[in-house]
Structures are given as C-alpha cells and as structure tokens.
Amino acid sequence: MTRFALLLFTLFTLCAGTAVAAAGSQTIRPVELKSAPSADAASAATLPADTPVQVLQRKGAWYEVSSAQGNGWLRMLSVRGSAGAAAGGASQAKGKGKGNKSGGGFAGLRGLVTGGNPGKPAVATGVRGLSEEDLRNARPDRAELEKLLALAAEAGEARRFAAEAKLAPRQVDYLAAANEKDAAR
C-alpha cells in the first residue's frame, strides 16, 4: 500500500511538470533503517544517500519513515526536504535549491491526491508589517510596548505551568561548535 502511494505521489508530481525525481524527503547520507527509535534497535535495512522516504511521525531524534525498502526509523537529522507528518507547511511538490526536494511529506501526499493544497499558505501579499522596508521605517508604538510589559508572566506562574505538565528541569551543559567551519557557514 505504501509503495503504491509513493508511486501515485511520484506520478502526480511528474504530471505537475516539476523536475522532482523523488517524493517527500530523502536521506542525505547512508543510514540504518531501524526497527525501533533507538540506536540499539535492530537494523531492518541500510538506505543509501538520496533515498526517497516519506516521514510518518517523529519521536525525539527519530523519524518513522516509509521507503521502497519498507518502514522503519532513522535519525531525523539524516533526512531533508520534508515538513514531516501532519505539518502545516507548504505541501506542493516543487524542486527547490540544490536537491530535488518537495515539501509536505504525508500532508503533501494527501493534498495532491485530493487535488488541492490545503497546507499551502495564502500568497503573502499585504503581509502585515515585517518586510525589510517596514522594519527600516518602523516608528515606536509605546502603547503596544506597555501591553507587552503587562502580559509578562511571573516566575511562580511559570513554575506552576511547568509542573502542571510534569516538565522537570534537567542539568545540561551548553554545546561547543563541532568545528570551526560551522561558524563560517
């Protein structure tokens, strides 16, 4: 069923006249497809770089995907080109930038099959206020600033809010850049 859906999606994208050879996301390097969202889980397959995958869901660092070699889990940072499952992002399949990328993952598939693009945002004409020019010409709004100050939370409130959802603080050290090149990118 999944392979058929993938084929259908590919056909739709081809009919739309785009250069996309792959649907959804693709791997950016060779990656192990795991049976569960864990590095210790068994490997179901090894996917080469540029393998097309459909993202189904995310659990922490892991995406569950469907691929030509079956379903499984892989590290989310080893794929590109998808907004993931149930995304609100753009769902049209259009090549962009270097890779053959299309947006929307599963949501994109649904959009194309029904003939619409429910996830696609309205064209941004008349978008309020935050273009480059708007920012350069901005004049202060003191009344809005006062509103901002009035909306600020207090520490006690914030702690209760966290406790309600059982958000427990953790000790984690800041990360260094992996290497100097990162800073120059």
């Binding site: 590095a39 995310r58 659990k59 922490g60 660092a61 989310m76 940072l77 590109r80 080109g81 998808s82 907004a83 993931g84 995304a87 609100g88 992002g89 753009a90 930038g97 990328k101 947006g103 945002p121 309205a122 064209v123 941004a124 004409t125 978008v127 309020r128 206020g129 935050l130 273009s131 480059e132 708007d134 350069r136 004049r139 202060p140 709004d141 809005e144 901002l148 100050l149 909306l151 600020a152 939370a153 207090e154 520490a155 914030a158 702690r159 809010f161 059982k166 958000l167 603080p169 953790r170 000790q171 984690v172 990360l175 260094a176 850049a177 992996a178 290497n179 990162d182 800073a183 990118r185």
Partner: protein, 276 residues
Amino acid sequence: MNRLRLLFVATAFAFALPAAALPLPGFGKLKSMLGHAKDVGEVSEPREIELGADISANLLGAAPLLDDAATQQYVNKVGLWLALQTERPDLPWRFGVLDSANVNAFAAPGGHVFITRGLLARLRSEDELAGVLAHEIAHVLRRHHLVAIQKSGKRGLMTDLVGVASERSGKGENWNKVISAGTELYARGLDKGDELEADRMGVVIAARGGYDAFGLPAVLQTLDAIHADDGSIALMFKTHPSPAARLLALDRAMGTQFDRYAGDGNHNRRFKPAAP
C-alpha cells in the same frame, strides 16, 4: 555598580576624543577588544533593558501584538520557564506574539522575545515552540544584538550606550541612532555564527526545561520544506543561514548525546495549533 559606572564614563570619554590626538590603539581595535559578549558588560543592565524596550517599541510599530490574551500568556509562560533555566533568570523576560503572517522570530536586548503569528501557526507542539523561544533567549543571553550594534557603530553609539551620569540622560539623537541600528539588524541579520550559536544553545535550554531537544531541529525541517518563493518567509531566509546548513551544524554539535532528552510529550496536549 558605581565603580563600573565610573569605568564606563572613563571609557566613554576615551572614545569621545579623537584617536589621532592620543597614543591609543585605533578605534577598530578598541571595538574588537570590547566587542565580545563575555567581557564585563560595557552596558549596564538597566540600559540594556531600556534599549531592548525601545527597539521592541519599533518592532511593535511595524506589527502589533496579536489580540489573543490566552495565547500571549501561554507563550509567556513557556518562555519564562525556559529563561529560568539559564544564567540570566532575573531579567524582566517579556514574550510577545506579533500579529503578522510573516514567518519569523526576534529578540531584543534585555529579555524581549517575539514570535510571529505566521511562525506560531506552523508549529506542531509545545516542544517546537520551546525550541524557537530558546533560540531567541540565547541571542539575549549572548548579547548578540548589543555586540552587533557596537560593531556597526560610530563613537557616538558607544557614548550613549554606556551612558553618562543618570539613567535618563544621554537619550538624545545618538540614542535614536542606537535604536535605529538595533531595529535595522532585523532587516540585515546577525552574523551567521551568532545564529548557529543560538541554535546550539537553544537545544540545550529547551532540554533544560524538560522539553524534547529535537523540537528546534523539527522546526528547521519545517522551514526547510517551505518553498523559497513564499513571501512570508523571505526575510527570515535572507537574514539567517539556510535551514539545511543549520541542521547540519546542529547534527555535528549534538551527535547522539541528546537522544535521551526526548521528553514524554505530555505537555504537548495543551498546545493548540494557532490560526495562520
């Protein structure tokens, strides 16, 4: 604090004098000596907050607050909870949702953080919201905007940032130049290194708050999939490294040691997807 103020005043006078008349290093060198956020604050905290508030007033002049108190309060609680996990928990942290379909987020000095309605609408969980807010909080912690304003500057900017005598003085023409320089940064963007640093700190701050450390990467994946022609995200793409570059940098920095900070997602039940 008073000794520090004297130091500021002395430094300000040193800068106010023409460099050629004194056996001082060039202004550029002085700037770079003082430019790093880790140095003892050249700018007092009250002044930093005042500056951030005035820059925020400009931002709000461009796009006002979303008229939805429940959403504003929710974002403030998530934001403050995160800020309480950092080295500056006592800043007067203020978070605001801007009523704009643009996809973007902003930070201003002294604890001011903004997210647009347009970006909020594309988030799928409180984890993702935490990731975005944590990135902006990092900009405040590292004083990225202050450092950038100083770097962009003229001597006048330094004099007024540092301030002379009382808090209310020094708010003349030069102060307005500082505010303009600060607002202009949103159109120009920070150094790419600052953005990558904010990403690295952001995932840590989110994890400290009990959130899924991969919330911010998940947002970056969403942004990566938005079409480049989409006008609502044009400015964000222009002023930040590409989502792909940011994801690559985070992957290298995080490795596998953050896998354990996934969180159980209970808190995501209270997240209501916003209207775009």
